[in-house]
Symmetry: C2
Subunit: 779 residues, 2 copies
């Protein structure tokens, strides 16, 4: 039976936002081991277990009063309210800034084109884009690298219990907001929904951390919030608020978090998340009312994207099902191919990014210039079309957004490609979703825009700037849907605007593999519930098809970043392994009364976060498992020098010296190491009585339990450590510790390569095409 230690530092390290080196490292065990003892701060797991030791029990008893509960409840809801309020404000601010910056840019360029100064127009367009992009790239690369990308995978990992460094810092928050505004305004083909979600999750985390000493904001009430569980709940609410603010979709926001982000859910949380998004909705509503009076610059009433597909008589019949099925199938294929390409591109980008920061910036510059060329150059390929008669809209629309961009055309003509390319993404989507515009676009224009948008989206995401994936996917999907609608021609009676909505749904679900939340978000965006059955159908088909080929985009990004993400289900072969098959040695244990020197040595030589404590004679009759102690608690003890002169000294009253607050987890504590603590040689010979600080009731499993069953316990109760006890009494009362790394398929297959390949047929076709689908379906 293998004895093992909690090899927690055998963790992929987060070198860079798009780092994949750890994935490579994880794929062979030698390089993985080489990471042990690395000085880079490791990704920490979070503690969601109820930690029971004498000290905290005492603390809990002391605070069991009525007033404390009121405080706690009030605080919880106040924080949710604040998260909602701030999210609403940030959402509004982001939108208004982007609309105004991008708007001014487009107005200036359009005016130059009206005066036939085409080269000047291009120059201004390209240079302003480049400047904005450079600004975003520089602050991201130099101030907060963690702010790059959408941030959704990081939030998802956090909710799973993985605490990547700097993800929720104040620096990251500021860079994310400013960088996102700059990047999106620079006409880069990226969205603002993902960064918005990260921003609001960040706000939630910072609010929950206000008790931290680091920011000098300690407030007595907040001490009840110094635990990972409440923080996770608040971050969950914050993430929902982000989607609500980005899409003005409060229900969709809650569902997105529930479906795609959250690893654990309670119905009480549903209510609180819902409250948060309701606050966001009300705040946004109030701001929009305010902007109706025209005080918000170029920001109009449609400023927060909201596409009214209000063709009152959206009607469809069973005969419309076949085109919708085709749409779903192709959407699924396109979506999974999108993920495939994105994966490859990100791997290439990572190699470039790893060289040094200048390369990152160079890549961003290339991206920006290429985008500007596409957006300005491609519309010239389209021929000018005469304005249709009998429409209420101005044609060509000058100095404002609209379906009919003049671009280089003669009066009374418009350029249909320009109204797609030379516009903000929001306006383009609005144009594509608009009903009754069957003839506004040329088939080849739509095709060209679709291809460009598809690849620009893939190329733009990995650049070093805050960038979301939602908007490019919605946009590309809408174009694809309209294209299918055009190709169907008279075979379908559905409106092309409706086709565009369905196309967005199919690509979203094909790429991100969301189902319910896509439906709800699209319904909230388009304000048309009658679409629901069609959207549902297309979403289900698209996801099923896409699942045949590869993983969803977030899972893919999580793998790329090397997070030890704990899946909701165990792999089938885990039912045939016992926990003793995966625990590997050596196990480090502490005695109930342990020598300071030993503790320091163990803390210095390992990176483990938890150690079993063994009760020995004379404290108990024989060797028994007394409990589990955390590294962070040992560090507090060493720092406070709570030492005994000999093993049998009477201990002083511990409750006078410590309060529960001393052990409450703070941000600032996280990165304090053993190195900071200075101890004399004399102190090293002293002892610590660990009794009052040990969690006396850790969850345990018997060594013969199958890995799948232990996985279920580990995941459902959100554990960080799981002790393995022997089946039959033996000399050692504990066999090993399981941490989340022991459940990683990568780790298990490294330990049992032969067994896996030979015995288990399931495993053989794990990577085959078909099983991918079934893994999704059979849960």
């Amino acid at each position: 039976m293998a004895i093992k230690d909690a090899a927690e530092e055998v963790e992929p390290l987060l070198v860079d936002h798009h780092s994949i080196d750890l994935r490579r490292a994880a794929s062979n065990s030698t390089s993985q081991l080489a990471l042990i003892g690395s000085s880079v701060s490791p990704i920490e797991s979070l503690d969601f277990e109820i930690f029971e030791n004498e000290l905290l029990s005492q603390d809990w008893r002391a605070r069991g009063g009525r007033a404390q509960i009121y405080q706690y409840v009030l605080l919880k809801w106040t924080l949710c309210f604040l998260v909602g309020l701030f999210s609403g404000c940030v959402g509004f601010f982001n939108n208004i800034a982007i609309e105004n910056i991008a708007g001014v840019k487009f107005v200036v360029t359009s005016n130059m084109m009206l005066a036939n100064k085409y080269m000047w127009a291009f120059g201004v367009f390209a240079v302003s884009n480049l400047m904005l992009m450079m600004f975003a790239a520089v602050i991201t690369a130099y101030i907060a690298p963690a702010a790059a990308g959408s941030g959704i995978p990081e939030v998802k990992a956090y909710l799973n219990g993985i605490d990547a460094p700097e993800i929720f810092s104040f620096r990251t928050l500021v860079v994310k907001i400013v960088g996102c505004i700059a990047a999106v305004s620079s006409s880069l083909h990226v969205g603002k929904a993902g960064p918005m979600l990260h921003t609001t999750a960040c706000i939630a985390s910072l609010l929950a951390h206000t008790g931290s000493h680091k920011y000098g904001l300690t407030w007595r009430w907040l001490r009840y919030f110094k635990n990972d569980r409440d923080r996770r709940d608040l971050v969950t609410c914050g993430a929902g608020a982000g989607i609500a603010a980005a899409f003005r979709a409060p229900i969709g926001g809650v569902l997105f978090v529930l479906e795609s982000l959250s690893s654990r859910w309670r119905s009480a949380l549903l209510w609180r998340a819902f409250f948060t998004t309701a606050v966001v909705a009300v705040v946004l509503r109030a701001f929009i009312d305010f902007c109706r009076s025209g005080k918000c610059g170029l920001f109009g009433k449609g400023g927060l994207i909201m596409f009214d597909v209000t063709a009152d008589n959206v009607s469809y019949h069973l005969s419309d099902i076949p085109p919708v099925i085709i749409l779903g199938v192709i959407g699924g294929i396109l979506g999974s191919f999108y993920n495939f390409l994105l994966d490859k591109v990100l791997q290439i980008y990572t190699i470039i990014h790893e060289k040094n920061r200048a390369f990152k910036l160079l890549l961003a510059i290339c991206g920006s210039i290429f985008t500007s060329c596409c957006l300005f150059g491609l519309p010239w390929l389209a021929s000018c079309r005469p304005c249709p008669g009998g429409i209420s809209e101005a044609c060509p629309s000058i100095g404002r957004s609209g379906n009919f961009k003049k671009f280089q055309c003669a009066p009374d003509h418009y350029n249909d490609l320009a109204s797609l390319f030379f516009n903000t993404n929001d306006d383009t989507v609005r144009n594509l979703y608009s009903a009754g515009t069957e003839n506004a676009f040329n088939k080849y224009s739509i095709l060209l825009f679709f291809v460009t948008s598809y690849f620009l989206g893939i190329l733009s995401y990995g650049l070093v700037a805050p960038s979301g994936l939602f908007m490019p996917v919605i946009l590309t999907g809408a174009t694809y849907g309209r294209l299918i609608g055009m190709l169907m021609g008279s075979k379908s009676t559905l409106d092309h605007g409706l086709f565009a909505v369905l196309g967005s749904a199919s690509l979203l679900s094909g790429s991100m593999r969301m189902t319910v939340s896509v439906c709800v978000i699209l319904l909230e965006l388009t304000n048309n519930l009658l679409l629901l059955p069609l959207v549902m159908l297309v979403v289900l088909i698209s996801k099923t098809v896409a699942d045949c080929f590869n993983l969803g985009i977030y899972e893919m990004l999580l793998r790329l970043k090397g997070f030890p993400f704990l899946q909701g289900h165990a792999e089938p072969y885990m039912r045939q392994l016992t926990v003793s098959d995966v625990v590997t040695g050596p196990l480090r244990v502490l005695n109930c009364v342990e020598k300071v020197g030993n503790i320091v040595h163990i803390l210095e030589t390992t990176g483990h976060n938890g150690f079993p404590v063994i009760g020995e004679p004379p404290f108990s009759q024989m060797q028994v498992l007394y409990g589990l102690i955390l590294r962070s608690h040992l560090l507090v003890l060493l720092r406070k020098k709570y030492f005994l002169s000999s093993r049998f000294s009477a201990r002083t009253n511990v409750f006078d010296q410590f309060s529960g607050d001393d052990f409450a987890k703070c941000v600032s504590d996280r990165h304090d190491g053993i190195g900071d603590i200075v101890l004399t040689a004399e102190e090293m010979e002293m002892f610590i009585d660990l009794h009052p600080f040990t969690n006396t009731s850790p969850y345990t499993v018997v060594e013969t339990m199958s890995l799948a069953k232990a996985h279920m316990l580990f995941r459902e109760v959100s554990l960080r450590h799981l002790l393995v006890i022997p089946k039959f009494p033996s000399s050692a009362p504990v066999v090993g510790i399981l941490t989340r790394h022991d459940f990683m398929p990568q780790h298990v297959t490294n330990l049992h390569p032969f067994w896996m390949r030979g015995r288990n047929k399931l495993f053989q076709f794990r990577n085959s095409t078909v099983i991918n689908m079934f893994r999704g379906l059979w849960l």
Copy 2:
């Protein structure tokens, strides 16, 4: 340290649908103990744990092939599809039957009134109502008592792991469908949504049970479905389909299950539930298309309730917030008072129902006659109003539903109360929700209808017939909302139809304490997403206010029925108790090789469902915990007479004699007792080797663990038994077993009455008004 046995038969027994005797029994421990050994079949818990013994491991290995997984996946999705299909069909059938039966009744009566035969009209109306009601009551009382009421609490209990007898039987299904049609058609003030949910959950459960021998439908593929986990998942999907079918609200259905019913949730389930409700939506859509051609009798296009509040310009501003807040506060108070009254009325009804079945029927007769009198008599109190000019609708509307009922009025006049009372509930709600009808109703008419509807709803629910609560609450709420709108007068610019929607939301959330699902269902019903922020606001306020006073309606019904429902959170005082404080003796254990006579004796004298198996010398060095064996498995062994002649006989190859299927749980097995098994005296002296049948890795906790922490494990992993092991090695390797009953607050407070009262301040104010709210809020 108390040694205890799994006192599983100390369970409230389900004597009757509305039985409260067990609640009384549970409140003092002597009468509770008196129930032990009772012959009434007990409520069983369900097994959601992965059960690991040699036999099943072997079985799992054998079926690990690719084909089996395909079968399993295909089966899972096919069953979901079938549940959706059947649910859609049943939903449509129910609606069409109710519309036609009730429609014919109203048309006949109205025609008589047109001919001035008022007494005849009342006679026909009252007698037809009475006949329908009697039919519903008789089949419910004599054929399937479990079909009475809404069935939602039973489904909720099932998803929590409580398997009440006959809840999902075929008999119950048929009675529920037929009885619901009869009861709702009889103009009783009950809804059809709750019964619909029970019906579809029943369909799901029966489909998952098709493998059962009882119905002779065993099919080899279905054996993978013979476990409680897959059944629960399918029932979850079925419940969502019910709400989807009742309200044509597929997203609302999924959310309702997620928020109000389900105790456990996985994102994979979200997808499947969503698929099921999508199928329902498509099926309903197809049927409605079919009915457009007029082939469905009186069933029109609005037949499935769907209230279009399509005032295109629903606009509201911050100034509309105060009336909405008032609406929410009063709605919360009314909702909680509704629950309070319903609780009292149900208790009285229970006392009456317990006498005998004739009393049940008598009560139903009284209810029906009283309702008929109200519906026919009260409209006479209203004065006739002249028809408004310039409306497109016919006035008075004759021979069809409409806002303007002629009733007893002169031509060109209408009776506004009659259009509320003398109508199907669906039509009344449609009238109340209609926009731009500020002057159609008199203030006092609305008030009278509100009061009548409020109390009729409370009085009607407990009658012995399938009856839902949704519709009465929606209806009463809509009236209340309109009343508030009228009282506001010119102070608010909101439409009265909108006020009605908000009123429904406030009463629904005040009574049922749903949040997100109410919002979504109302949005799907009214097809107007712009209402969202207002609905959210009103729902949140209303729930918060109502939580101050009492429990939600489903929790109240669960308590009334005496189900041992396991809450999602532990009570605060549970943190201060250890598991050893609640385990009570005596513990019955089995040896690994046990004498048949002992097993029979234990099975006869206890009702426990699980027994610890102890490994003894010579099978192990010392007494160790070998595992846990289930009563049902022991019964299989006894029935198959898998006996050894002596304790040390070599065991035959068990895998030849048994397959996993023998132990798969079947409906028919559930109620087979030990009494059916005939054993000779010789056989009683033989032995059974329990090794291959024992679950060798049951979840265990150490006796010093707090009850709250054990509760979390028990609930999150959905356990049925939790073994308690000693902290320090002692003679007994197991201290006790925890079952869900040990976590019931009732049980804990019975064991520790003094401790609770004296030491724990938290507990003292558990029942106070304010803490009720906070218990809801602080989770």
